[in-house]
Symmetry: C2
């Protein structure tokens, strides 16, 4: 794969090299896929969301503001294709729809079971636990496929 990692600053809050749509589309093509207008729009929307995690409905809405006739099934099929390429992944933050985001393996989610607030935390807080589980069970925890539930500071100081 020869997708060049462009350095064009986009709208990300960080100063890491920006991932640009063309890179992603190129990977899609390289894997035998086609680049179509709906796919461009979907990638654009996902990039435009920055760190925010969008669910399928939000992606549909945003994509339709660019390209009104895109079907839901196209969204689901495209995000599945992008997940296969490990470009994005999905997380279950709570009950309800899954949310999609770029595949940085650098954060996890705590979700308050009372107010449903989401707290993002760096994945390396799990390093010790991960080592432990590896040693004891041979299990490698990977991914943030599911959030971790609990109670946030605000709710804890609230009466039940």
């Amino acid at each position: 794969m020869t997708a060049k990692t462009a350095r064009t600053a986009k709208k990300g809050p960080s100063s890491q090299p920006a991932v640009v749509a063309e890179d992603i589309l190129a990977r899609l093509r390289a894997s035998g896929g086609r680049v179509t207008a709906p796919r461009r729009a979907i990638v654009e929307v996902l990039l435009g969301a920055g760190q925010r995690h969008l669910n399928a409905e939000e992606i549909v809405d945003a994509v339709r503001s660019l390209l009104p006739d895109v079907a839901e099934s196209t969204i689901y099929r495209t995000v599945a294709a992008l997940e296969d390429l490990a470009v994005i992944s999905h997380v279950h933050l709570d009950h309800g729809p899954a949310t999609f985001h770029f595949g940085d393996r650098t954060h996890r989610h705590l979700v308050c079971r009372r107010c449903h607030t989401i707290v993002e935390i760096p994945a390396d807080l799990f390093a010790d636990l991960a080592r432990d589980l590896d040693r004891r069970y041979g299990f490698s925890i990977a991914g943030e496929h599911f959030a971790i539930n609990g109670e946030c500071r605000a709710c804890r100081s609230q009466p039940t």
Copy 2:
């Protein structure tokens, strides 16, 4: 609440005081609920499952072998009532239906993303992490509402 904690050994693998159906039914009654035949059967099934986590469909099937005409909706409504009483809780081990189990807060689940094997681990392996998250974010992780994903020993030694 005065539900006596009976010590009758049932079929649990552990030697903790067995929770008996009557205790649970009494709590249901104490909270203003009614004790009905379907509810008895559901509690029986849940108790009979011991440590196993049953999903709604499995509960329905098992309950119907005792009481053939119980509706699915009754199962869902009853497990919801039992969750409100904190007698049971549900976990999402993977995609697919939730699973229900008695509310011991003593274990967590690792689920292999490849073979879907479930590894149960003691919750106290999370103690350090929990302290950390509390200190840094005021967040109290609680519950095993979602499993932790990763890869099990067997799958890790397998070619991708």
